[in-house]
Point group: D2
Chain length 362, copies 4
């Protein structure tokens, strides 16, 4: 992993009346891991302002030290996902489609590739309806070892054929670091599913790849954890990461998860990475998908990922949440009409949001 | 509480090979509480199909009885909130504003009434910007007993003055069953806050009132629990209930709660009650409010409830999430342009959603 | 509500390079609400150390002010629940039973009072088995308005008879502020259920009462919120509050809630209030109750609240989680044998926990 | 993966009045995937009782089919983790220590191996205090790519030396399927951490291994998902799986997670696999660990996993939750005294719990 220029500003609040020997010990220990320490005297306590290498400062749990009351981390400006990291702002292209940067992207297709004929048929329908990229699972992570696990490598030639016949770029999921290279030969974009957001071996391998990655949010992961998962890929050298919100688990939710559309404005403020939304997994039932897809667009998403199957009731996985091609054809123009109504390109939206948040009254 | 015509269809699945004496005991007990029992013989077990009074069947935890494997409730058709309960479908009017039925409603105002001058000033601004109703808290439920609890009854004359000067209908929160009558004399709509969704004493009192009620979802309540809270009011005789989604707690959420916009399509299918959304509490920070307000409209909400304060940084409560009048003025036309883009009235949307869910492929 | 001597230590961290005019404005505003402000100059930013009245400082959302980066609250020492608030440390007595202070209390009885004969029969059994207090619901909060709501005031004479015949003190739930006085005439302890932990009208009324209160944790409430709910009662003048953990909602839980036994050691450290546990609601199924009751004792609980019914399958509510008298008789000596094994009285345990947490290595 | 003998009993409840053609279509489709279908005629609807291969029945989302109201799965008896699967009940031995079967196991050691000297020093202390196995991370999954990631393969010789010098068996975490073989050469037991419970590539690889596996619960995973993760390993041929509860995320939790001790009795009933508890991750702070460790033992855990560090404030990871050797020495006899007080061996406990749950009154 390349060296990282992160230069955090941390503030360590010491306990009141801490003996000088203990204060010195704390300071020495901080300096021994490379921190630059500036001491500030308060009325009854000291504050230590720190600068230094994140690698060193994060390995030590400063807030657990005796005599330390609180540790505050104020800056995240040197993370690769931070909005002002110009070097990482190169536009992401997937099979000729620009991702983010004011462009709107629709990814559609079945949960899993079941057979060639069906894959081609669905791909033809979604392409005609306005999809920009085709999704279809080759390797499927399933809760039960006895459930359909996808066709595996046998699905890869089918995906290749879909691209050749429809011209649509291909996105498919990767589960195992040993498969990254093989799948990259076929796919234009690699998906990391929700269950693998914390699979750091896989993320590190993807950091070495030169294929764009769609990184879904872990189903119980915070935004901070999600961005740090992206950092595993970005810091490895692969700057082409797209975030995809797909719903988080919640005790009160009626369908397992709640789609966190509020994450969009927060992410637009904190990162330059494009933000996609998966209203299919985010709702769990087909009848709820159009409402949430439209909401995602209105909230400012750069793209959506929608499961489409021509016979949902026959699907080998996730049929319950798949739209039919007819439902998808009806939905696409609605999504574009919301984009038009808002007069938005992604870039303008981003500026507007960040602008409004820096106003005097927040 | 009036007698209720609920006539559920429940199915009780008995354990395989259950002795006849035990089966008879179960049947007798069900009949003793008024159920009509139809016995179905399976290959190795019996099924009991039940009809009867919900009041009787719900008081006994049938699924805990020895010999009972599962209890399935199939119907909710006789609940007052069920979509086919015609008697309850009378349109709700609040100060001349039709709620739902294809009409879109914007409620705006400060979290709490702080003083008369400020209340009138904010009300003037939101009225000019396009708000339909004015919100302002008199009684405030606060986590700390030492936090500002609202002006209480001293705020009521101020709310009355706001209505007289602006013509806006007034909505304000009620916390205590003993206050329902007094507040109803001033308010056009009573709000039940998230913390009181399970306060059944209060809900029963509101069932006796003749003022419309905005019922916020408990911050950790399921949709089923929320609808049953509405049923407490509806079954008491007050048919004017509006549901308001305001975010539910979630471990992975970055700002305490996640706004559950997926609830809208589910509620549109299950109930005729209008659905509002509160993007202010649902986001917790002003910069996230416009994105979520637009998303709520695109998802099909019948109205939104937005906190507006002319000096958010001086607000006595919730200032962090309040829009300024300027931000509100910018947002309102965006909300309407989404409505227009979708060519929707609430009624049409409702039909479309329900229609799409009844298709062959779901 | 009486004046409160809370004297927090808060630290406001200002943004780097904040203009002097803004800094002055912030300082003036803080002083205008009564804070004493001490300014500390850091290398690039200022810190403001505050002391003052909590009532004033909590009404203003300081962390939302422009120019404020963070607000840290360091002290909670003046809350009535804080361990060093000697005035509030008077022992709680319920019908001759000391609560906490090294004594262990077992509360047992049915979820709801169903009829006099059954109540007396169950009370006789649990008294003989070693219960110290009898629980039985008169007013029941139920999710459905059609479910059994308890016998209401008709249950009160039954509770009185139970006390007269068995000598057990009585605890029962109160739902409505208008019922506090009436129920207090019969009950030795009033229970606030999970759904009403945020019902501040009720809590304020209980603050005026002279009956001990068992305050259950809201099913999605943090420990901070729970302690502040206790503060509503304590600050009103009623110092007899017992906290009762009963499980919190969690997306991954198999039975609705997870019993948060980790709360015990945290509460022992932060408050002098006795801590009880309700393993019946905390598990939802009778077979899981003994395991969790024993765990609660081992974790240091001052008491447990266990539902017992002589015919759980006939119970009008919560039968699934009730122990039979036989199961309860088997459990009680196990609970005491754990107490003995640990050589603990509540007081010693408390000292041990607080002591171990103040060691050098935490 | 070997063929699986699972023979579920599922019941499909059809919609009332479903046309015969649709009913036939459903039946044909079920039979086409290998199900044996028995049709039961209810008063207004049909029920289909199914038997068949789980692999086929789980690949099709029957409950999403038109005309299907509900699908009930009644049996899980053929899963490898099910308690009556005798073939899988062979005792698990780790370095001479029997796991479960009435034996109690204490695993202790630092979060991460930092250097040889410290590892040996801590190992000596925990061995002397009564630990049965030594834990120490070589490969560490960290949220940030810049945090200390463990010494990796350089830690393996250190672990080997610990075993040679102390005689303690070694348990360490595996993150990557490519590391399973290498780590197995050194470790007596492989740990799958919470973040990887859903990493099916890793689980499949472990199914091919002949080293016992400690499978931690995903931090937002249900018990069903956890057992199915175990099934990935068991069905691959490795029958030596130990489950370890370590806390689940919860919105109301004060320290990220809540330790779900209620899972113990449920798992004792549903599976023969031994159940361990990790009170260190389950509490997040050292002062809370003893209380939860004792609670785990009282609840019936077969073992505990406790982080011990001789200088917690200097630890490179998780220092905040580590006990000192002194604290650990004080805790161990308390754990055993609870075991003694309960007169329990794991086996007896298991019988008691299962026994009590099969009684007439549940």
């Amino acid at each position: 992993m390349e060296s990282n220029p992160f230069n955090p500003e941390m503030i360590v609040i010491l306990a009141p009346g801490l003996p000088a020997t203990r204060r010195r010990r704390i300071r020495e220990r901080l300096e021994s891991v490379g921190a630059t320490v500036s001491v500030v005297d308060g009325a009854e306590r000291q504050y230590l302002e720190l600068r230094g290498e994140i690698a060193a400062l994060q390995t030590i749990a400063i807030d657990g030290w005796p005599g330390v009351d609180k540790v505050i981390v104020l800056g995240e400006s040197a993370m690769h996902w931070a909005p002002d990291d110009e070097a990482d702002c190169a536009p992401i292209q997937v099979a000729g489609q620009t991702i983010g940067q004011g462009e709107f992207t629709i990814i559609a297709g079945p949960c899993a590739i079941e057979d060639e004929e069906r894959a081609l048929r669905i791909a033809g329908r979604v392409e005609a309806a306005g999809a920009n990229l085709f999704r279809g699972g080759a390797y499927k992570p399933r809760t039960s070892p006895y459930a359909f696990q996808g066709l595996g490598k046998d699905a890869l030639p089918i995906l290749e054929k879909v691209r050749n016949q429809t011209g649509l770029g291909i996105i498919t999921e990767v589960l195992d670091p040993r498969d990254v290279e093989r799948i990259s030969q076929v796919a234009d974009m690699l998906q990391v599913g929700s269950r693998n957001m914390h699979n750091y071996s896989l993320l590190k391998e993807l950091g070495q790849a030169s294929t764009p990655v769609l990184l879904k949010r872990g189903f119980s992961s915070t935004i901070d954890e999600w961005l740090m998962a992206a950092e595993y890929i970005l810091s490895g050298g692969n700057s082409m990461v797209v975030l995809c919100e797909r719903g988080i688990r919640c005790a009160a939710a009626s369908r397992k998860v709640v789609l966190d559309l509020g994450a969009i404005s927060e992410l637009k403020k904190r990162t330059h990475l494009p933000i996609f939304v998966d209203p299919s997994h985010g709702s769990g039932e087909a009848y709820r998908v159009p409402s949430l897809a439209k909401a995602a667009v209105a909230a400012g998403a750069d793209g959506v990922l929608i499961e489409v199957h021509d016979q949902p009731s026959e699907a080998l996985s996730d049929g319950r949440q798949a739209l039919t091609p007819e439902q998808f054809e009806k939905l696409v123009p609605e999504l574009y009409s919301i984009r038009t109504a808002l007069g938005e390109t992604g870039t303008q939206f981003s500026e507007q949001v960040v602008g409004s948040s820096s106003g005097e009254d927040h």
